[in-house]
């Protein structure tokens, strides 16, 4: 049984110009001990997807899903009060901005223990022990004395470690990390990712890592899901996706990054030209068509659902590679 199973998740936000459709009918699942990476450009809906899973969408946003199963139970219609009990307990989240995601008015000890005492036990001593244990786990020295410090006394890297520790406080079965390293120095980015992967292994959790950094994905992902304009355009086992990207967008993305062992020294990195389309109003066809080198008139109208291949590798291109090759031949 998957820890998380999502089917046709949709998020709509009413705005002045009409209805914005930032996430449109996406599906995925995460198993115990598995790492799912959701990749895509800014604005592709990946952060909203994570917030939708946690039930943290802005008030105006409307969430719909055919299935939203957590540990096999439907959580899509849970009242806020019950949802709050899951959050921070069985599922927790790490945010992008360690500098601002901690409350400046309270010590990190207070903020760490708070979540434990909310979900596990009111026992203060137990919470404290757990906090110290996890701070050490995430590689913070003299953990006990750190408890009394305020966020502003810590560096960004340390704060993100604290955020990770906080997410782990209640032994969650699923962690959603939304670009946890974007705001950090490059050297620290690697450390934090390494740490995350290590902890995931150790505690055997499901991990959803949201990122636009394919280099990161290549290193730790089990499964990859590529999002563009609120849609999943390609998904599959990490190796399959990296080895043979099928959707033109994925191909474009992969050309943008140097991949160890694949990109030759001196080779030019590619770029995906064009801009992300407007997602307000009725949408149809493939949204990538205005940037796609292979676009054809049919792309404006045809269904852009995923077509799954034999190894679980799916993509949503209306004109998949075989067709394009056929055309080229013809």
């Amino acid at each position: 049984m998957s820890i998380l199973e999502v089917e046709n998740l949709t998020v709509d936000i009413p705005v002045a110009a009409g209805m914005l459709h930032p996430v449109r009918s996406i599906s995925f699942s995460v198993e115990k001990g598995e790492t799912l990476c959701i990749v895509g450009e800014s604005g592709c809906g990946k952060s909203l997807t994570s917030l939708a899973l946690m039930g943290l969408l802005p008030k105006a946003a409307i969430r719909r899903a055919d299935k939203l199963l957590f540990r096999g139970e439907e959580i899509g219609d849970l009242p806020e009060r019950k949802m709050a009990h899951l959050r921070g307990g069985a599922m927790s989240m790490i945010f992008q901005e360690p500098m601002t995601s901690l409350n400046p008015a309270y010590t990190i000890g207070d903020q760490l223990m708070e979540v434990f005492r909310r979900h596990v036990t009111r026992d203060k001593a137990a919470a404290r022990d757990r906090a110290i244990y996890l701070l050490e786990k995430v590689g913070i020295s003299s953990a006990a004395s750190r408890l009394g410090q305020y966020p502003h006394q810590l560096s960004g890297g340390l704060r993100q470690r604290v955020m990770i520790a906080m997410a782990l406080m209640c032994e969650p079965e699923l962690i959603i990390a939304d670009e946890p390293t974007t705001a950090l120095d490059v050297t620290i980015q690697a450390q934090i990712l390494h740490l995350l992967a290590e902890l995931q292994n150790e505690f055997d959790m499901g991990l959803i890592l949201i990122t636009h950094d394919l280099g990161v994905v290549a290193r730790i992902a089990d499964k990859v899901q590529v999002m563009y304009a609120g849609r999943t355009v390609e998904e599959g086992p990490a190796r399959a996706v990296f080895d043979s990207p099928q959707h033109p967008y994925t191909q474009g993305l992969l050309r943008c990054i140097p991949i160890p062992g694949k990109t030759k020294r001196g080779e030019r990195l590619g770029a995906v030209p064009g801009i992300v389309p407007n997602l307000v109003g009725d949408l149809s066809g493939c949204m990538f068509r205005n940037r796609c080198p292979h676009a054809a008139p049919v792309c404006a109208t045809a269904d852009d659902s995923l077509v799954t291949g034999p190894d679980g590798h799916a993509n949503a291109c209306i004109r998949p590679e075989p067709e394009r090759v056929a055309e080229a031949v013809a």
């Binding site: 009060r81 959050r87 901690l102 708070e114």
Partner: protein
């Protein structure tokens, strides 16, 4: 911390010297104290004698230094008019003014913080509209006029509340509302703005992601950060209110030091005026210092440098 405290105290001290020096010169411009002391029927010789006895014939800066020197020991001299020690007179009356000031600022905070919070949480709701009305009216309503209207309606027409004096808590209801209401718009405005900013902040999202109950999120995580600026402004307003208490105390016959200063000005009772100006100024200085310390406690990022 200690160095900071010393610096602040020194600055405060300088401020008090300047303020009291200005007031001293100002009030000595306004009247010849010898005349006030001598009374209506005094002869020229009597007045001259008093002038020499009290040293009013000396240069003003010498008089000021002497006054300031004694004031530092809490000795503000004797009232020309009442003949009582000014310190005794003020000690007997400051309680009324402080009660009024504290009640008024509490009233303002009790109105403005919840209104500001609710307005921030539920824009466009009925409460928000009510808050708007309070703010728009509060800013434009002359305090004394509002006080008089309350007296007419609540005191005389409906006879709900006592009109003058300070015998019971009921006597403080109208003055508190009149004085406190004026500070409400500013405080509410700042609460609402702070609250909106905080509610949109990353750490509130974190708190919610931690599954904390809405109450904890609102009161523990959001409010504390949102009211930090409100505290500082409330301290400033408390100072303003003590000043405003002059009109209110006069209207409601509350005999605090606001009224005392008005009475003293009418009869050129300079030692009383000077002492009260100095006390108001000291209160302001102490309050802003206290507000900074409270802020430092509420917001650990403000390190006490």
């Amino acid at each position: 911390m200690l160095a900071y405290a010393i610096k602040r105290s020194f600055a405060a001290f300088l401020i008090l010297i300047v303020v009291s020096g200005l007031t001293f010169s100002l009030s000595h411009l306004s009247a010849d104290p010898a005349l006030t002391i001598a009374g209506e029927q005094a002869s020229d010789e009597d007045i001259q004698a008093i002038r020499e006895l009290y040293g009013f014939d000396r240069p003003i800066y010498i008089q000021y230094l002497e006054w300031a020197g004694r004031a530092m020991t809490g000795d503000f001299g004797e009232s020309y008019h009442y003949g009582e020690r000014v310190s005794t007179m003020i000690a007997g009356r400051i309680g009324t003014t402080m009660s009024l000031g504290v009640l008024a600022i509490l009233f303002a905070l009790i109105i403005s913080i919840p209104l500001g919070v609710v307005a921030a949480m539920r824009p466009n709701s009925l409460v928000d509209r009510f808050a708007l009305l309070v703010a728009v009216f509060g800013q434009a309503l002359p305090t004394f006029w509002f006080a008089l209207m309350m007296i007419i309606v609540l005191g005389v027409w409906w006879r709900w509340l006592p009109i003058s004096g300070n015998d019971s808590w009921a006597h403080f209801v109208m003055p508190t509302i009149a004085l406190g209401y004026y500070a409400t718009p500013a405080l509410m405005r700042l609460t609402r703005a702070g609250m909106i900013e905080v509610l949109g902040s990353d750490y509130i999202r974190t708190a919610r992601a931690k599954g904390l109950s809405p109450t904890v999120v609102l009161f523990k995580h959001a409010l504390r950060n949102a009211i930090i600026p409100v505290v500082a402004l409330a301290a400033v307003w408390f100072g303003f209110m003590l000043g405003g208490s002059i009109v209110i105390e006069t209207i409601f016959n509350l005999k605090g030091i606001g009224w005392l200063s008005y009475d003293a000005l009418l009869r050129s009772d300079l030692p009383v005026v000077q002492a009260i100006v100095l006390i108001f100024a000291s209160l302001y200085v102490v309050l802003t210092l206290a507000a900074d310390l409270v802020n430092a406690w509420l917001d650990p990022r403000i390190s006490v440098r």
